[in-house]
Amino acid sequence: MSGNLQPLFWAAVTLGSYGLALALHHRHPRWWTSPLLMTWALCFALALTLHTTYREYLRGTGWLVAMLGPATMAFAMPIYAQRQLIRRHWPVLVIGVAAGSTIAFASSWLLAWALGLPFGLRVSLLPRSVTTPFALAFAGRVGGIPELTATCVVVTGLVGASMGELLLKWMPLRSAFARGAMFGMGAHAVGTAKARQLGEVEGSVAGLTMILAGLVSVLAAPVIALCLR
């Protein structure tokens, strides 16, 4: 393929696959038709077939990664809309994020150690429960392979968003706060998208939990870096 058209081609493929995936998910709302998974599967299959490298793919779609910035910023809106609720219940959120972050770091590290994964992979796994911009900031501070961290973050989001539905069936959660915090803490932005479907309170609590978890991880990064040395 000619060098100039290739970036355009991959941008079009990604957007086109996303459009298809949205339509499919609208008709059959199952976890395996989740737009992220479908879009990725279509693009990945095509990239393998055409022997495209990651670098070539990114030339056309780097701007999509940059759009994570404005998307993160957009969380100001649901937080603003739910400001009364948040003002009243912020200690609950802080407790939830503290507990969730501790479980996230400890269980990732211990499970990876138990399965005999090497140090580099274990470090890359550590920030997987926080949303990409924070996870990359964490990885930059503590070490680990940034692309691998980004992939683990997204896989975590997919796994968490689909398991969250099962957990909702198993666990009697009475407060919208608990449902929102669960998705925001466990599955960051992908979970937040899911939580927004449950309700407005769930959505904004999830968004806020996600942001708090990200801040906690960035603040904890220097301490964790010291511990690992």
């Binding site: 990114l58 910023m73 407060s175 706060f177 998705f183």
Partner: protein
């Protein structure tokens, strides 16, 4: 003039998303120039929240754009997972182990967080059964 702009802006989610992206771009520039240790999206979020709370920006001017950006956030994650093209070794045993860690740990995080929040929420409301 400002009023007219407001009326146009109120209707179009694309224009709003574009304006929000512009504001983010400004924040990204500030982060870059001052070499701040925060991700640009987070600074932009703080700025936007401050503008909304301070009344400097009427919420209807950006509500639709923000909703649109959030609705399509998962699209922005696709390129990150394409990094697997560079790490084919992860499609084997190591990848399986990584996946197992992610599933186990995520299950723990979600169940733990939900239970802790539910309990502390009920405790704060004095609804102890």
């Amino acid at each position: 003039m400002l009023r007219k702009y407001g009326i146009i802006l109120r209707r179009s989610s694309w224009l709003q998303a574009l304006a929000l992206t512009g504001l983010w771009g400004l924040c990204a520039r500030v982060v870059h120039v001052l070499a701040l240790p925060v991700p640009s999206g987070i600074l932009a979020m703080a700025v936007l929240l401050a503008l909304l709370l301070g009344g400097g920006l009427p919420a209807p001017w950006v509500r639709r754009g923000a909703a649109g950006l959030l609705d399509h956030m998962v699209l922005f994650f696709v390129p990150a997972v394409m990094a697997l093209l560079n790490h084919r070794e992860l499609l084997g045993m190591v990848g399986f182990k990584l996946f197992a860690v992610i599933v186990g740990s995520t299950l723990g995080v979600m169940a733990g967080t939900a239970l802790v929040v539910d309990a502390s929420f009920r405790w704060r409301q004095g609804d102890v059964r």
